[in-house]
Symmetry: C2
Subunit: 249 residues, 2 copies
């Protein structure tokens, strides 16, 4: 089966790499950014093009959500299977006469960070059983954790991921901003952060909550508010309010 | 050196346990909650009391912030060293004629969750070099990572920890609430969460940010807002606003 990957960003790179490592190297990576394509091509020994889209059985569209529709119009092969990799788009966004599907990896991808591909949950949606099998087979080469998901469920998976990953990372950014402002090395906080996450492998997060808000320690909350301003102060108030609501304080 | 631990909560338990494991078992644990004291006493083989506070060279006050002052008044021994374990209180909160100090472990403690004590950063403050040495020596039995910190710096360390730990855990709670509402197992998100944290061991969090807000994907942001309500919606808006401000979007 000939597979072409469209895109040259973090997802495109890691999907291409994972497939290559499992011996099902894509026939081509296609995109606009020649410099990025060239880097990927050189590292993974996959041909690239910015102009001519190779004929393939399967096209994996690994571009940002707002580019999926326009990119999908470039695929003219009617007997192809086309999948996007977005958490929030329906497969119907794909605007062509081919078979439409979704191939969603639940992970945060950065080119410079290696990943254990085996553990990434993949969520598959297709028009029929045969296409579903093609995508299951491919995802199972990469990961031990492949499931079906329709668009409705996938939206909520993506939304949950935004809270559990994107927002968590942003809290780390704001935390580092605070510690940097006092010349406190952010490394001091890594054991605490590691433990915070290890904990929820064993204890439900609601039961693992600690800190001044859940203790209803109003003195500390008032003291902290005086140390903060702007967005960090807004986050501080919003999070504490939410904690106090959750625990009915 | 005789050490007494005051308190029967998560911090008291883990400090008592860490000291016991390193062969410097406390002479007593003292507190109000007899059931908890009894559990700790039986597990760690440390005498406990709810009434008679043992004579000691060092008292470690491991109670919640708003109880520190009143508890500190119970210590009558003038030639003792007394330390609280709070991130946000000054050592002067201790209301007695003894020598005052602070012994702050930067970690999140739950009784049911084992910890690698060696990695916990301890922050020490004392009135003089000799007391500082006593506390450094004790903390170094537990941890490889012992530092000095005055109250001003400690306040910011604690505040950073609230963002990096307490708020992160609350995001996990709200994330689980969303996935639970759709009967999506929260376990699916653990590889993503683990990776989110592994990443910041290698990449600065500001550079590791992914997700719809930093991509300025207004379509997804609007779609997600429709799926949320109440506190989760407030968090969603506040976090996205903060991300967009940080990246000047």
């Amino acid at each position: 089966m000939q597979t072409v990957i469209i895109g040259s960003g973090n997802v495109a790179y890691h999907i291409a790499k994972a497939l290559t490592l499992k011996g099902v190297s894509p026939a081509q990576i296609f995109g606009r950014n020649e410099a990025e394509l060239k880097n990927i091509s050189e590292e993974l020994h996959i041909p690239y093009s910015t102009e001519h889209l190779e004929d393939a059985d399967l096209y994996l569209i690994c571009v940002s959500d707002n580019a999926v529709e326009s990119v999908s119009k470039m695929i003219m092969k009617k007997d192809a299977l086309v999948a996007h990799t977005s958490g929030s788009l329906p497969k119907e966004i794909l605007a062509g006469e081919y078979r439409k599907s979704s191939f969603y990896p639940l992970q945060t991808f950065s080119k410079s960070k290696e990943l254990e591909y085996e553990k990434i949950p993949f969520f598959i949606e297709a028009e029929n059983e045969s296409d579903k099998n093609i995508l299951f087979e491919l995802a199972s080469r990469i990961s031990e954790n492949v499931m079906e998901s329709d668009h409705e469920k996938r939206k909520y998976i993506h939304l949950t991921a935004v809270f559990a990953c994107n927002f968590v990372n942003h809290l780390f950014s704001r935390a580092k901003e605070i510690s940097d402002s006092q010349e406190i090395p952010f490394d001091y906080f890594l054991p605490l952060i590691d433990e915070t996450v290890q904990k929820i492998h064993e204890i439900e997060p609601k039961k693992a909550q600690t800190g001044p808000a859940v203790r209803n320690d109003l003195r500390v909350l008032a003291l902290h508010e005086k140390l903060l301003k702007d967005e960090s102060l807004e986050i501080y108030k919003t999070m504490n309010h939410s904690i106090q609501k959750m625990y009915e304080l």
